[in-house]
């Protein structure tokens, strides 16, 4: 069935959720970012719309963190599988640029989840993203601010690489993105 056969799902926080939509939300809570196993996709801020208009039917819209992120296809199928496991016979997962992701969409709990994985969380920003912002990243391991940015590009598109001059560890940061 084509996705256009269904009405557009509503933005996540726009209206009160019905009981089926609450089940969707609970299911999404358990879907982790495949590259950051401590962070679920709701806290990551990539779930932009959900809907369930009838029994057994679920729709979820995701937005990519980076347009070249290879984890996106994996996340789509993880979401699909989670919805099916939660009892939805018809689960539609779409990706759209409608709501552009930015790092401010990561929840407070999400920032803590990043730290638990050893990643420095991105600072909240108002669009100013330059090297000095990245250079001023506290070490997620010891908390020191005496750190050096090594490169804004890391092992995945969303990460930068840093060195802590205090505890002498290399660490990665989750980049601020506008």
């Amino acid at each position: 069935m084509k996705t256009t056969d269904f009405p557009a799902p509503h933005p996540l926080h726009a209206v009160a959720l019905n009981a089926r939509e609450q089940v969707i939300l609970d299911a999404l809570e358990a879907v982790m970012d495949p590259e950051i196993p401590t962070l679920n996709i709701l806290d990551l801020g990539i779930v932009t719309r959900i809907a369930s208009e009838q029994d057994g039917h679920a729709q979820v819209q995701l937005t990519p963190t980076f347009s070249g992120c290879p984890a996106l296809k994996i996340m789509e199928s993880l979401v699909h599988d989670a919805l099916v496991a939660a009892g939805f016979l018809q689960a539609i997962v779409q990706t759209s640029f409608e709501t552009a992701w930015n790092s401010n969409l990561i929840s407070e709990r999400g920032l803590e989840s990043l730290k638990k994985h050893g990643l420095a969380p991105p600072p909240r920003h108002e669009g100013y993203i330059e090297l000095d912002v990245l250079s001023d990243t506290p070490c997620p391991l010891c908390g020191s601010r005496n750190t050096t940015l090594q490169t804004p590009f890391g092992p995945t598109l969303c990460r930068s690489m840093h060195y802590c001059n205090h505890c002498k560890n290399g660490f990665e940061g989750f980049k601020p993105v506008d």
Binding site: P64, F66, S67, G68, C69, P70, S96, F97, E98, A100, W101, N102, I129, E130, L131, Q150, T151, P152, F153, G154, P155, L157, M161, K175, V177, D178
Partner: protein
């Protein structure tokens, strides 16, 4: 004003040149994988390649929605004369100085183009432009950091930056070669046009390059790419990029 067929053709022309630029520069950036002068640069160019190719996919998807063939077919089955990229992006990576100067001049133009397109009346294009703009910031930051450092380094590094700029500049001016529908796409506010983009780009890159002690070359634009006339470098690039796809175009990956 009402959208006519010529407006849609202008939109398609715009999307093709942007998508082709992203795909080809993405492929060139990926050629630094394993060859970067330091590990961080290996990673930087590889990451930028990944961004560009992801962006080209999103643009090819928009074309598909407008009735063009699917992204893989469009990306991997056309020949050089069917591509609309500028000649800047198809030039070989050369040495690091060439790649860095090209990367900055191209990405600064992209950053401004996406910023302008955020206001496009064609909402799907405005949406992806909002996304790309945030990603491109890191690319511009990368190019500027290196140009400043090398242009202000020692005599040799300065000279090599100037040489690269002399070589890249006429190619970079070719980014702004006008298409056949400039008037159409600007009159309905799809895009303000190449001339408007070029003047914003000049206002941005000239002061920066001069602040690094570099001289702006006086040379004419190398054009043709937007109309399918390419340098001899494009076809061999396509042959390599499409080699695996063409062995079995129906393969499931």
């Amino acid at each position: 004003m009402e959208m006519t067929e010529r407006h849609v053709m202008g939109l398609i022309e715009l999307l093709y040149k942007m998508a082709d630029d992203q795909l080809i520069i993405g492929h060139r950036n990926s050629e630094w994988t394993g060859l970067g002068p330091i590990l961080e640069e290996d990673i930087a160019f590889s990451s930028m390649a990944q961004d560009k190719i992801g962006q080209s996919l999103a643009l090819f998807e928009l074309l598909h929605e407008l009735g063009e063939q699917d992204p893989d077919t469009v990306a991997f089955t056309r020949n050089a004369e069917q591509f609309h990229c500028c000649q800047l992006v198809e030039a070989p990576i050369g040495e690091f100085n060439f790649s860095i100067v090209r990367q900055y001049l191209f990405d600064q133009a992209e950053a401004l183009r996406f910023e302008m397109l955020m206001a496009s009346v064609y909402e799907p294009l405005a949406m992806v432009s909002r996304k790309f703009r945030g990603e491109i910031k890191y690319h511009v930051m990368h190019g500027k950091t290196w140009i400043k450092q090398l242009a202000e380094g020692n005599e040799e590094s300065h000279q090599r930056m100037q040489e690269a700029l002399n070589e890249v500049w006429p190619l970079a001016l070719g980014i702004f070669e006008e298409g056949d529908y400039e008037k159409e796409i600007s009159e309905v506010n799809i895009f303000a046009g190449e001339a408007a983009l070029k003047s914003r780009w000049m206002e941005t890159v000239v002061p920066f390059l001069e602040s690094c002690g570099l001289n702006i070359p006086q040379s004419d634009a190398v054009t043709g790419g937007r109309h399918g006339q390419h340098s001899p470098y494009l076809q061999p690039l396509l042959d390599e990029m499409c080699e695996v796809f063409r062995i079995d175009p129906n393969a499931e990956w």
